[in-house]
């Protein structure tokens, strides 16, 4: 069986105090690399008769060049439109007829695709996935690019321009990163750049970044590992190795030397405040500490910012805090939506009051470690989340996707235990030190989205 040792875990959890003797989470897998460079990870789990195929291409919007922002994501859309031996529309219709679903997503660092299927449809999924990895360009046309360009522009309208506060993340990235930094521009892209994207760009991007050696493939679920390996060799073995390997992105770390402030207007009735810092990359020292800090600040009713702003004072509608971890460096954000100002009060006064409280709470966590109870509460929540993450095989965030994520970040698909160990090794003092070091009040981005003045857009 492919699951981790459930009974041992139960024993470890029964000890309420963070125990010294911790158990291992282990996800059994096999892995191999095809001669063309494609790395393959196979994981067996027969809970339900379904399987998942999960591919990561090690390219994201961070690889884009000026004037072509949004291209990695536009390209992702084109991967579903047919390939050398799959006609337009056939990718989705063959999968639906087999009871499968599929999707893809693009971030700054990577592009991922999954197909979740009844386990009898594995070979169909391997055929479709290998055909677009090997033969995408055979049927690519400028018309196809135009079609998905319109779809992506509507995705941007729906999730950014027409969404309340939708432009905030784009503004924050522009304030956090210098113009040359790979994280400066939005993954969805600028409208003008989406307009400019061409068929020739598609050809170049595919040849450069979609070679098997720049990808990793996970098959997980109700499968036989040996037969799966044979099928993978059959369908992926003939794909040409393609271009030379892609060198890692090298860019000096972004640095903030002051507070950068901006206020923008939107068609909203409630002001919202954003605070953003540049923080350590995924799995680097400080990354796990800041996950815990986020929980202590905004995870649950007793979290410090939630309790003061939302529960006690009731001057905020909601508050969130998170460490968004990425390969070249991370962001820590705190977001607070203000309540409607009291009669006679201005939105600006309400925003100023919220900001002073946010600053007080950060300063307090910089000076004193969190209490044992609130620290343990955060650790217990994080530990439990590791178990729940094991329940689903497919989709975004399922076991298949996590195996690829760990492989991409660390070279070890089964990094679950090492990842969890990062949190178990922490002390309350570590959290204080990370907040003091990484969340300075005098070097950060402050963005306020305020209600538009009537008549203005």
């Amino acid at each position: 069986m492919s699951r981790f040792a459930a009974h041992v875990l139960v024993l470890a959890l029964a000890a309420a105090v963070p125990a010294a003797a911790q158990t291992n989470i282990q996800v059994r897998f096999t892995q191999f690399t095809l001669p063309n460079g494609l790395h393959v990870i196979v994981h067996e789990d027969h809970t339900v008769p379904v399987a998942t195929l999960n591919v990561w291409y090690h390219v994201g919007s961070g690889r884009e060049r000026p004037g072509r922002t949004g291209f990695a994501h536009l390209f992702e859309h084109l991967m579903f439109e047919g390939s050398g031996h799959v006609t337009d529309g056939e990718f989705d219709s063959l999968l639906e007829a087999a009871g499968a679903t599929n999707n893809g997503s693009t971030s700054t660092d990577r592009t991922n695709y999954f197909i979740d299927m009844p386990s009898n449809a594995l070979e169909l999924a391997l055929f479709l996935e290998s055909d677009r990895m090997g033969y995408l360009l055979d049927s690519m046309t400028p018309d196809r690019v135009n079609g998905q360009r319109d779809v992506v522009k509507n995705e941007r309208r729906q999730h950014y321009e027409n969404a309340p506060y939708g432009m905030a993340s784009i503004e924050i990235d522009e304030m956090l990163y210098p113009p040359s930094h790979p994280y400066r521009w939005p993954t969805i892209g600028h409208m003008d750049d989406l307009t400019a994207a061409s068929y020739e760009d598609v050809v170049e991007f595919f040849r450069k970044y979609y070679a098997p050696g720049n990808a990793s493939l996970v098959i997980a679920g109700d499968i036989d590992p040996e037969r799966t390996r044979a099928l993978i060799e059959k369908w992926f073995g003939d794909i040409k190795p393609g271009a030379a390997s892609v060198p890692p992105i090298v860019h000096p770390p972004a640095v903030l030397t002051e507070v950068k402030r901006k206020t923008i207007q939107d068609r909203v009735q409630l002001p919202r405040l954003y605070f953003a810092w540049l923080t350590p990359a995924h799995f680097r020292p400080g990354d796990a500490e800041l996950d815990v800090a986020a929980s202590i600040l905004a995870g649950g009713k007793n979290a410090r910012l939630y309790k003061r702003l939302v529960y006690d004072l009731q001057i905020a509608q909601d508050v969130s805090a998170f460490q968004a971890s990425s390969a070249l460096g991370s962001q820590f954000q705190i977001i607070v939506t203000a309540r409607p100002p009291a009669a006679g009060a201005t939105p600006q006064a309400s925003v100023a009051r919220i900001q002073s409280i946010v600053d007080e709470e950060i300063a307090r966590l910089q000076k004193e470690p969190p209490a044992a109870r609130e620290f343990e509460r955060a650790i217990h929540q994080i530990e439990a989340s590791f178990y729940s993450r094991m329940e689903r095989i497919g989709n975004f965030g399922g076991v298949g996707d996590q195996l690829n994520a760990y492989y991409f970040a660390t070279g070890n698909p089964d990094y679950f235990n090492e990842d969890l160990a990062r949190y178990r090794a922490l002390s309350a003092a570590d959290v204080r030190a990370a907040v003091a070091h990484w969340l300075p009040l005098n070097r950060r981005v402050e963005l306020v989205v305020e209600p538009a003045v009537k008549g203005a857009r």
């Binding site: 699951r3 459930a6 139960v10 024993l11 959890l13 001669p35 063309n36 339900v48 008769p49 379904v50 031996h85 529309g89 056939e90 639906e96 007829a97 087999a98 009871g99 499968a100 009844p118 009898n120 070979e123 169909l124 055909d131 135009n146 079609g147 319109d150 779809v151 509507n154 995705e155 309208r157 729906q158 999730h159 321009e161 027409n162 969404a163 309340p164 109700d222 059959k234 073995g237 003939d238 068609r267 909203v268 009735q269 409630l270 649950g300 009713k301 939302v310 529960y311 509608q317 309540r339 109870r373 509460r377 929540q381 439990a384 178990y387 729940s388 329940e391 689903r392 497919g394 857009r457």
Partner: protein, 477 residues
């Protein structure tokens, strides 16, 4: 000659296998899936506590977690007239003070266990959901029982939650995707029928609730005679029943008298509605009328029909508006089936300058779905529904949610075991009959939320029907 040829062929294969270049597979036709794997839904172990409270258990031993749901067969459909939103606010207030703990103590205890406890409410049921590492199950059940059985509805917490809820209604006005969810049912069902207002209620009704309103709703509906406990995950009846007996065995109360939501009068002629969002980059479109109750005999035909129309990626609406025209990021349709007939609607957010073109395409597809469905399209939809079905039993929360449906809608015990077969039995005639009956575009309400000055003239030029210009206040008060 033949043996010689065969020998050469064998050698060639051996060479290819030994080198780094594989023989190219035959890609001229997609591999056909083998026979579908047998799927048996988890066995439901039905037990009872000493007070008669049913306990349904579905074991899942992959991960050491348990999901427990208390399902109360009363939701917003049980709101008294003039008190729309009571069920929803009662549900929201359950964990704001219960037993001898206040709101902060409950949250602290749950979080410290690494558990999550949530309360929610639909038109047909109220839910308390606990997800917890199995080693902490016993402790967490005590907290869950307090929240479900002994909420205190403190006045100060009610004031706070009330203000939060009222503020969320203000936020909904700012978001066209949310606003359309409030506005469309109001236009179809009107302000009097319960389904014309979302579960949450209106600002006016929410302002009127006292702790007594919530206490009364709770006392009447949150009773063992009206409820079930569903347990899914890494436990067994022998392990969990004694814990449940200890925490829920003394709970008392008979089912309330049935208070069915009445059926609303069906729409009679097409009517357009426009809500202005100056400068909007997209128009939110929703088209439909009163659909069917969950008990409809057309259930399986309509699931297939909707999969073809707007319930899957390759559905006609998504293929047309997204893939062929690029007017939208996505388009869909749904029959929202409840105890009484809920809404049917087709929906999309479309780019502002293609609003009228999109409406034309919507009506083209809504008309075409009434015509006979080609066999291959019908088969694709049926297979999609029947074969993707095992995924609704993958996680402990999936299993609990699937079992909850059986309880809320009184479905037969073999419902899931026979689901795939009943989907596959649907015929083209069944679908066409259901379409003729339930998709009548000349009687539909058409709602557009967008930039009026850009879109109104072109919409009127389509001559789809009379148009009323509405305000956000009209549809949310």
């Amino acid at each position: 000659m033949m043996p010689a040829l065969a020998l050469i062929a064998t050698l060639a294969i051996a060479v290819a296998a030994g080198s780094t270049v594989q023989q190219a597979p035959d890609r001229s036709a997609a591999p056909k899936p083998e026979a579908a794997p047998e799927f048996k839904p988890p066995q439901i172990q039905k037990r009872q506590l000493s007070n008669g409270l049913p306990v349904w258990i579905g074991e899942r031993h992959k991960v050491p977690v348990v999901h427990v749901s208390i399902v109360v067969r009363s939701g917003s459909g049980a709101d008294p007239a003039q008190k729309f939103g009571v069920a929803s606010l009662t549900s929201r207030m359950l964990d704001e003070g219960a037993g001898n703990r206040d709101a902060l103590e409950i949250a602290d205890a749950i979080d410290y266990l690494g558990a999550s406890l949530s309360t929610s409410c639909s038109f047909d049921a109220s839910f308390i959901d606990l997800h917890v590492p199995v080693a902490r199950l016993s402790d967490a059940l005590g907290l869950m029982a307090d929240v479900a059985l002994r909420p205190t509805f403190p006045d100060n917490e009610l004031q706070r939650v009330r203000e939060e809820t009222l503020t969320s209604l203000i936020q909904a006005q700012d978001d066209p995707e949310q606003l359309v969810r409030f506005a469309f049912p109001r236009l179809v069902f009107g302000p009097q029928h319960r389904y014309g207002t979302l579960s949450v209620g209106t600002a006016a009704s929410i302002k009127g609730f006292s702790p007594d309103d919530l206490k009364q709703f709770h006392a009447k509906h949150y009773v063992p005679g009206n409820s079930v406990i569903i347990v899914a995950g890494d436990t067994t009846p022998d392990a969990v029943l004694p814990m449940l007996e200890k925490t829920f065995g003394a709970w008392k109360g008979a089912a309330p008298p049935p208070g069915a939501t009445g059926e609303a009068p069906q729409l009679k002629s097409r009517q357009l509605y426009l809500i202005d969002k100056p400068g909007a980059a997209q128009s939110q479109i929703r088209i439909g009328w009163i659909g069917v109750p969950r008990s409809t005999p057309d259930f399986f035909a309509l699931r297939v029909l909707n999969t073809i129309l707007g319930g899957a990626f390759t559905s006609r609406l998504n293929t047309n508006l997204r893939e062929q025209h690029g007017y939208a990021y996505g388009a869909s349709s749904a029959f929202d089936m409840r105890a009484a007939a809920g809404p049917f609607f087709a929906a999309a957010g479309v780019q502002t300058d293609k609003t009228s073109e999109s409406l034309q395409e919507f009506f083209k597809e809504l008309g075409n779905i009434r015509q006979p469905i080609p066999a291959d399209e019908l088969d694709k939809a049926k297979n999609y529904l029947a074969l993707s079905f095992p995924r609704s039993f993958e996680t402990t929360a999936d299993v609990a949610g699937s079992l909850a449906q059986l309880f809320v809608y009184g479905l037969r015990d073999d419902y899931y075991a026979t689901f795939a077969r009943r989907v596959l039995e649907v015929t083209a005639e069944d679908v066409q009959r259901a379409a003729q009956r339930h998709i009548q575009p000349d009687k539909f309400a058409v709602l557009v939320i967008g930039d009026r000055k850009t879109i109104e003239g072109k919409i009127n030029a389509l001559n789809l029907g009379p148009m009323k210009v509405m305000t956000t206040g009209d549809v949310m008060k």
